[in-house]
Amino acid sequence: MITIELNGEQQVLSGDASVNDLLSIIGSDGKTVAVMVNEHIIRPENRSATLLQEGDRVEILVFAGGG
């Protein structure tokens, strides 16, 4: 098991979890989100190949209302 920081909060994952796995765990189809791992953008085509590591800082962002 590994612990990552997801949107500022601790999240425990299995050791071989990819970004795509994380998206399904949190209930996102991944289509309308942007993902950053340690401040690097992970494009949709690279999400299944990107495995998360202990201590990674992950930000998952959406478009919300704003002026």
Binding site: I26, T32, V33
Partner: protein
Amino acid sequence: MDFLQLGSYSFSSRLILGTGKFSNAKVMLEAVRASGAQLVTVALRRFNRQQAEDDLFAPLSTIEGITLMPNTSGASTAAEAVRAAHIARELSGSPFIKVEIHPNPQHLMPDPIETYEACRILAKEGFLVMPYITADPVLAKRLEDAGCASVMPLGSAIGSGQGLAAAEMLSIIIRESNIPVIVDAGLRSPSEAAAALEMGCGAVLVNSAVAVAGNPPEMAEAFAGAVVAGRKAFRAGLMQKSGSALATSPLTSFLEAKA
């Protein structure tokens, strides 16, 4: 036709609508449709499963003919704004970025130094940069020289409804600019939007005035009409003001009784 030209993009609508502060997504979408806006702003927020309805990307994609203009709200430095712009472009596929860097939540005034730095970098990277700034003619010129697609000075503080409090400075910016000047923030009523367009602004960006109106879609339509009227008046050429009365009817007396 008379278009708002931003980079290589041409828009027939001169009303840009913000999507914040609406009571729900349905009302927001109705207002966007009613406004006829072709540029719509959105903000980045952390994904939250409990607030799935906050994700506006899919609902906004159902409206044809709109281009997203994400903002960098939440950034308090140039580096943060540049990072936000990269993420936003990844998500939207849109080259537009509204650079918005306001470190103080009490007054939400934009930081001119961080804003300039972020704009300089993003313009070089090929973004169509739309900076939210105070109505400062010198800063506006510097941003134009840095390659911004427009400048977006505030009419008055964000969400204040104080209208065109900065009118005098705005008119200097308009006179000096070779890129569209878009009044962003502070507008409360359609008449203020019309006044901005009459002054020669390229467009207005409105959010609160529509979002918190009693009937947002109707207010959106009212703003759309005002912007068209204001632009038409600007193009038609307003009469000069005069300090004294100038008659519109003949003043020759002909009703005086003959002696």
